[in-house]
Symmetry: C2
Subunit: 338 residues, 2 copies
């Protein structure tokens, strides 16, 4: 197959790679119908996860059509159109049953989501079937693979409740869908911390009631003023860096929760602040499959448009340009067409 690969730091190619194959009887192979670049793909791209040892496929978000199934796959057939959660799970182990599908005992991840074909482990537990969508619905539906449930996980973990005040730290695609998710969960006031005009506009479109452009102490002071000195009922930390985490704990009200979903890079949690405030930390890697039964209907009925986070569309063969756009923050999120 042809697939997007990372062969060295900042070196993305679209090149011939071995087809993925069925490794376990519970696997399926999907033909990728829609794909995209994740903010977390930028970590290996930039070399922040260490050196790149050998060319490898990249990409973990995709929507696809089943083209092959293992002998034990019962619930899906060749030809089905499916949402592929980036984290595969059997949905039957004790962790899955407790809603922690990201810790499934049979956990695997999509590793060639930006290629023509992708292997899905635990197909029965992982996939969600849908009617083959028109091209115009692909962006909204594709967000269900990762970025929308991840933003939702931040809001859900932070304990957003109807009538509450939520703060979203981070205006990447995850943060923006965190805003949308806070709205879905009934937040009355949603303060988006964003300093880019185009992202501020999208945050407002998704339901943000207030925008705080300042960062660090100045931004924290503004949030505290907006919350009458009390702090926010729930904070979504959607960046994954130390400064973002510090801001999150400085603006959350005592006893309330920071929901975090950004892959932590160099984060030292502010434990003294957490101790004094009794501020909780929840979240982490999103259990995508857990939320799909709730989020897929919202997308299908058209009551939400999470696909608005895609502000650039490229053929998969030009993925390298997509990485450049996201790395330089020219694009919020890049949609890739096979």
């Amino acid at each position: 197959m042809l697939a997007t690969t990372l062969s060295d730091i900042r070196t993305i190619d679209f090149t011939e790679m071995p087809d993925p194959v069925i490794q376990y009887p519970t696997d399926a192979i999907v033909k990728v119908v829609a794909s995209c670049i994740c903010g977390s793909d930028l970590w290996p791209y930039r070399g922040d996860n260490g050196p790149v040892e050998a060319p490898r496929t990249i990409g973990h978000e995709c929507l696809g059509e089943v083209v092959e199934i293992g002998s034990e796959v019962r619930d899906f057939a060749v030809g089905d159109t499916v949402v592929v959660p980036f984290d595969h799970c059997d949905n039957t182990c004790p962790h899955c049953l407790a809603g922690s599908q990201q810790a499934c005992v049979n956990y695997e991840m999509t590793v060639s989501g930006q290629g023509e074909l992708a292997r899905v482990a635990q197909a029965d537990g992982s996939l969600m079937r849908l009617e083959a969508p028109g091209a115009d619905r692909l962006p909204d539906l594709l967000t269900l693979s990762d970025v929308f449930p991840t933003g939702y996980h931040a809001a859900f973990s932070a304990g957003v409740t109807p009538g509450s005040t939520a703060v979203v730290v981070g205006d990447g695609a995850v943060g923006l869908l965190g805003v949308l998710s806070a709205r879905i969960l009934g937040a009355e006031r949603i303060i988006a911390m964003s300093r880019h005009a185009s992202r501020q506009r999208l945050a407002t479109a998704f339901g943000a009631t207030d925008i705080v452009a300042a960062r660090g102490e100045e931004g924290e002071a503004e949030v505290l003023e907006l919350t009458r000195g009390v702090g926010a009922d729930a904070v979504l930390e959607c960046v994954g860096t130390g400064p973002a985490m510090v801001t999150a704990f400085n603006v959350v009200r005592p006893g309330a929760t920071v929901g975090f979903v950004g892959v932590p890079h160099g984060v030292e949690l502010p434990v003294a602040t957490m101790f004094k405030k009794n501020a909780r930390l929840a979240g982490g890697l999103a259990p995508v499959r857990r939320y799909l039964p709730d989020l897929l209907p919202l997308v299908l009925e058209g009551s939400v448009s999470p696909g608005l986070v895609f502000d650039s569309t490229l053929p998969m063969s030009e993925a390298a340009e997509g990485y450049r756009q996201m790395d330089e923050r020219e694009a919020i999120k890049v949609f890739l067409q096979p």
Copy 2:
């Protein structure tokens, strides 16, 4: 008054100090009827909080009799016997109303609890009145000032529910009362991590169903085996050190919560483990006043005996010996008689 003082590292005296005075009309002064030494008193005693600049009173746990009130104290009168929460609160600010009394906007702490007299800020919000108890009831009632609600806070924050499996990391007085609190909250299985025979016995008396004596990776492996590889539904971290926190997150099941109450000293939270497991962190400084309406009746009716954590009793004038006993782990917790 005569009061226990810390004048240098490991230098405890019982000496003449200025009487505490009413500083705000919401203050009260109590004559200390019963006092004790807290594990957290050992931090300044050992010099772990930095140098001791000048002799100062020490002690924040006491039961007392009101001997003076400020002009705005409405609910208490001279002569009342009271439980004095170590953390004083007005119980009316937004944080108190949300159950985070430890973050009260008028927060203060008892600072001469091991002296003859102690000042209580926000008397109406902080204190709980009780009938003057007999001497035999003092140990149980004194635990309400800090150590019992702190252990309870660990269990409550960890989300212990009826039928659950809880692990308690730490066999100091707080950990032991964490065991008792997990039992109160209905845990079916309580695994106490303790390597001292006398503390193991007390843990069992308080409701522990299993004892794990090993520490570190070996102890974690035993807990995982006891929980069939799944991990615990709730973990109480009652130490406040890095290794204890790492153990707590290694034995908690994915998606579940570590409740922490040990004052963090040199703790770096294992954020990568927390992210992957979606293990939550909650707790911190205990909002003592929040729990007293629930815990005081249990003590009064005699259904729990938290005072069993006191295995040494000394006159307050011999507090120095008490510090020595706790520092060298000869005693679990030392009761001080004025």
